[in-house]
Assembly symmetry: C2
Homo-oligomer: 305 residues x 2
């Protein structure tokens, strides 16, 4: 830790949890945001988008966790370069802190989209992702963190006001709609990408009822129809600030009040009410009394491999 | 956060989880220990015992969380004094860091021993204690923490080698036996105090089977006989390093590898497999593949009100 330099007296930090605001005016109240990103691949578009967020940099800390695979090594080298450029540049453009964590456990499954979305691999893969998210979160969450923004390394386009837009609703957990751009017959189109933000259904709850405690329900597999309503399909051209209550959330972009994580809401690496990772997190937040919300008409975009 | 002073460049911390050892020789390997204490009352005997631990101070960070009650104010004043004395004294005697957190939610129940142990109060009280423990943990756990020692503010006597003794077993979660000294007819005696360290029973598992998800099983109440074997009663004059596998653990003194908490094992404030707080933590650790152990013959002592 850099907290104690050899010549200064060791600090006594006094920290008053109730002096920490999370409000609908986070910039006005100088609320600190921790942006957390698990990184298997480094995309320059992700980094450029991050740099364009217009939340004050001195209120942003960044945290990354990188797997110890060959792909991870390559991502780390690029990430390191990018971080160094910003943090050694003009002082007013620097982030208030950057932590890069190297994962100490293996990722079980290959990284191309088709293979990693194959159903049998999901429990193990999302369990490992949960451990990575928890390690990153609980190593970097500090005494002054007000908000945690989860932002996947393949989210390459968001409004530049992402943080303050999400925070403006003053919700404990809030998630935008994650889409993907693609081209069809020379035409630029968008389609839903992340199916983990949903409203529960009687069918899914009945499925869980019949499952053993170690089984998980997954969204988006034909052989396991849950009849949940997916936020992915609720998008209209209407008000981007239209809110909807959610039972499951995705983590590609996700704003969480730090107190929710401090209370103990984490990403369960094991089936929790037959849910795992970000969907299990939403359930845990609900168990702790924090209702998650979604913004169906507010879009962020996932990389197209 | 004190990490960034205004005149130094903002830090980039690189942190390699797999370079962090937790071993049976924590002093030899310079492993950092975070000692965490929820504090409703300040006992000088607790502080004197803490000061006598002979683990190197430059490897120890302390973290406290104090409720915002009148009793908490009094405890905070005393704690502040005690901390200031050590941290402004001779450099070689200072702890490497101290964080004091003021709780931002109320404690529901009065603090005398009889009332706080009354069964109806337990779920709410231990739920609040869980939130306090999680907030403390997840605000102070740092990039370099190797071990977390939970030590209640009313543990007033332990061997001075407590940390290295517990660590020497190199277990993910390990708990000593928590007793209490008392006097009977002028004779000094000891008796078991903490009943939360136990081996599960068929009866308790069957009880849980029949319960709703919001109910909890509590230990030590006649009207709810669990037939679990309690470590409290397994103590002999034999080898203090005799180990036993446990299903539930108490938290009066408890050593945990930081990776277990980083993986996401926390103190469930809600019923988790019908268990709560430290007992729920043990279950969560097991779900994450970490077996808890106890040392029935290794004693620490709780204050006698
Ligand atoms: N640290 C870490 N990050 C990973 C790992 N696998 C994927 N990621 C990152 O975690 C996020 C989500 O993973 P991704 O494979 O994109 O999931 P998908 O888009 O839901 O299929 C992305 O930011 C990835 O770069 C891993 O094993 N370790
Ligand atoms: N922060 C905080 N600490 C508490 C609260 N209530 C008790 N404590 C502390 O938590 C630990 C366990 O509580 P205690 O009342 O001793 O539990 P018992 O010995 O199991 O009956 C002790 O260190 C207390 O000082 C609370 O509401 N907030
Ligand atoms: Mn992705
Ligand atoms: Mn006590």
């Amino acid at each position: 830790s850099t907290r104690t330099s050899p010549n200064s007296p060791p600090p006594v930090i006094h920290y008053y949890l109730n002096n920490l605001t999370t409000s609908d005016d986070p910039i006005g109240n100088r609320e600190k945001v921790l942006v957390l990103t698990p990184v298997a691949r480094f995309y320059d578009e992700y980094w450029q988008n991050l740099l364009k967020l217009n939340y004050p940099r001195d209120l942003i800390e960044l945290g990354f966790i990188v797997p110890k695979t060959r792909e991870g090594n390559a991502a780390l080298a690029k990430l390191d370069d990018a971080v160094r450029r910003v943090q050694t540049g003009s002082k007013k453009n620097r982030f208030s802190g950057v932590t890069i964590i190297r994962q100490d456990f293996d990722t079980p499954v290959p990284q191309n989209e088709k293979e990693r979305h194959a159903r049998p691999a999901q429990k193990e893969r999302r369990g490992a992702m949960s451990r990575a998210r928890n390690s990153l979160l609980y190593t970097t969450l500090g005494t002054e963190t007000a908000w945690v923004l989860w932002l996947d390394a393949d989210i390459i386009e968001t409004p530049h006001t992402l943080i303050q837009d999400l925070a403006s609703h003053d919700k404990a957990v809030i998630v935008p709609n994650c889409y993907q751009r693609y081209t069809e017959k020379g035409k630029e189109k968008v389609r839903p990408y992340d199916f983990n933000s949903w409203h529960d259904s009687e069918t899914a709850l009945a499925m869980a009822e019949k499952m053993g405690p170690d089984e998980i329900i997954l969204e988006g597999y034909h052989e396991m129809a849950t009849y949940r309503s997916l936020m992915a399909y609720e998008r209209t051209e209407g008000d981007p600030h239209h809110l909807t209550e959610l039972d499951g959330v995705g983590g590609t972009a996700l704003l969480v009040k730090a107190e929710v994580h401090r209370d103990g809401a984490m990403f369960p690496p094991f089936p929790f009410y037959n849910l795992i990772e970000t969907e299990g997190f939403a359930k845990m937040a609900r168990r702790l009394g924090h209702q998650p919300y979604g913004l169906p008409n507010y879009l962020v975009y996932h990389y197209n491999e």
